[in-house]
Symmetry: C2
């Protein structure tokens, strides 16, 4: 190990939160036929966004606007809030990294659900915080349990995704509002709403943006169909939002992503169409699962988590069987949620492949015991 590393960085594992499907493809020596494992949006971005990105490529010799001014203004209009409540970054991952850098240090306690977002955990460890994990309850993040854990450890940060990844389940706005009302004011809630655009009405709570201890996180990677452009944003109190400027990489966004996201916001009709496509695909996945004797969990996201009805070892075999059949899917990491596999909303072609190959994967998984 290099002698130049700080003791803390030297103590960190060189882990990767996620192995990409491209790495699996390289290892397998062939491409996936269906790419429905990373909660991407196969429905793609608005044609307006695509055109804007292609146009912006023509001025790629110019650095991006480090203030993300136009996009921040447009998001402020969308949410009917002041731009001073909005910070833009290279995806929610980057924003979570900045938030951890801003708030987490050795001795700081952080609470999350056991089996929730690995990249958040990676950043907490990266800044030396202590992570306390609360098990899921009935495949939902356990709001009461999270709150109790925050109190027990006087946690400075609580991470919650609503709707949840990897389970797809959700709490309605009232329950989130209650959580916020009961949260100690010494604890900052990071509310990851990556999937909220495709959740039922009444899922996104009405939280005043100047609430001092809530940061909401949104993304263009899911319903907006722009995961490859790396655009996310945070909504929160002015002082915290302004504090990103102390540490962030001011020129981190690409000029092309800025232009694409800005154009995507202008096409809410496209977004509505995608949301409808997602709802149809969710039903399709649920139907395929049921037809094979499996139990689809209710989902407010662009994927459906499917209970394979046995233990983690069995679900891992089902997953391996699908991957062998060129269908890229993933699954929860932690028991008992690892009895499930997570299937993304796909095109009708993707769904047909799933339907075609699921029984083979199940048969193999059953016979391998």
């Amino acid at each position: 190990m290099s002698a130049f590393l700080t003791p803390h960085v030297a103590s960190l594992p060189a882990t990767v939160p996620f192995v990409g499907p491209e790495a699996q493809e390289r290892q397998r020596g062939r491409r996936f036929a269906a790419r429905i494992g990373a909660n991407e949006s196969v429905f793609g971005p608005s044609p307006l966004a695509l055109a804007a990105m292609q146009r912006a490529a023509g001025e790629v010799w110019q650095y991006p606007d480090p203030e993300n001014y136009d996009l921040r203004q447009a998001l402020a209009t969308l949410h009917a809030i002041d731009p001073g409540h909005i910070q833009i970054g290279e995806g929610i991952d980057t924003l979570l990294g900045y938030l951890c850098r801003m708030t987490v240090a050795p001795g700081v306690n952080v609470v999350t659900s056991d089996g929730a977002y690995p990249t958040f955990n990676y950043h907490v460890a990266g800044y030396g915080g202590t992570l306390h994990r609360v098990p899921y309850r009935d495949d939902h993040e356990d709001l009461a349990g999270l709150l109790a854990m925050v109190r027990e450890h006087d946690a400075r940060v609580l991470y919650l995704s609503n709707p949840d990844n990897p389970m797809g389940t959700w709490h309605n706005a009232e329950r989130i509002t209650d959580l916020v009302a009961n949260l100690p004011d010494t604890c900052l809630l990071l509310l990851d709403e990556a999937y909220v655009e495709c959740a039922p009405a009444g899922t996104a709570p009405d939280i005043a943006p100047d609430t001092p201890n809530v940061i909401r996180l949104r993304t263009f990677s899911k319903v907006y169909g722009m995961a490859g452009a790396r655009v996310g944003y945070a909504i929160g109190p002015r002082d915290l939002i302004a504090s990103f400027d102390r540490i962030r990489n001011h020129f981190g966004m690409t000029r092309i992503a800025q232009a694409g996201a800005l154009a995507a916001l202008q096409d809410q009709e496209w977004l509505a169409g995608v949301i409808s496509d997602i709802a149809i695909a969710r039903d399709t996945i649920a139907g395929i699962a049921r037809a094979h004797g499996l139990t689809p969990l209710p989902s407010a996201t662009n994927f459906v988590t499917v209970d394979c009805g046995r233990d983690g070892a069995f679900a891992r075999r089902v997953l391996a069987g699908l991957i062998d059949r060129d269908i890229f899917v993933r699954m929860p990491f932690v028991a008992p949620q690892d009895r499930c596999i997570r299937i993304g909303c796909g095109t009708s072609w993707d769904m047909a492949l799933l339907s075609e190959h699921l029984s083979g994967a199940l048969a193999d998984a059953s016979s391998e015991v």
Copy 2:
């Protein structure tokens, strides 16, 4: 200030290393006519890169490959080294931030030139390091002075850009090799070679990539004409290169940037053309400067730093006069280098505007005393 910040982050100023030209345009209420202030490449990227980015926009719904595998392989081929010596990031800025996070902590001494890259200084401060600055000598970074300062403070990190920004001057490969040979092995050299592709042959030293205390930094923002795509890379020893994986944002690169950079590497002919365009533009700037009684410094970069012949106050007035005339330029921050303004290589249209307006800016600057 938010109560959630760590004491160190709370102590940091909310400074911005650079104000973008877009912010100046918003303030002025009108666009610049010539954008030659940020060392961008007005000659743009290879048409192959442009086409690749426009194609990649069509698959922007997919996350990028977090390993940047294809681009790393191609860079390894270009430099005839193993990909294990290469790390890719969202521009040199991001890589410098990661390197500071990996190596700098309170109590760690870092050496740079006084008036060199503000973004590096920002990251050093951001991780609590102590910065020691060495004045330029004859408008060059002072290698002997830097080395002495490293020894005096037992510095862990030395930052050097060669060719230099903002002065445009450079040291030949032998002098850099000597510096490396004389550097204590407890000091890591960050050798920023952002401009090296357009420097005279014999500027880039031959440093074995497994030299344990040298990281070289390269970018697609300058000669490759892709500043808006945010692509940089580091070359260095395997252990340090692998250590980026402990802390980096694995999904930070955009898929479009990956594709663009990969295609750009395939068009070395375009690169040669740009390098030739840069050389011509440098001569043009030098000629315009001389015709106005100013002294152009020799340059190995895509800009020419021009000595306005008086003090910093005068040069700032000249700069203001050019900006008033819709010509975006910048200048060194620190005396006595701030007697200069820094003019980027432009199109012939940009150069004509410069030629047209420089005398007015100079006349105003002289009369304002």
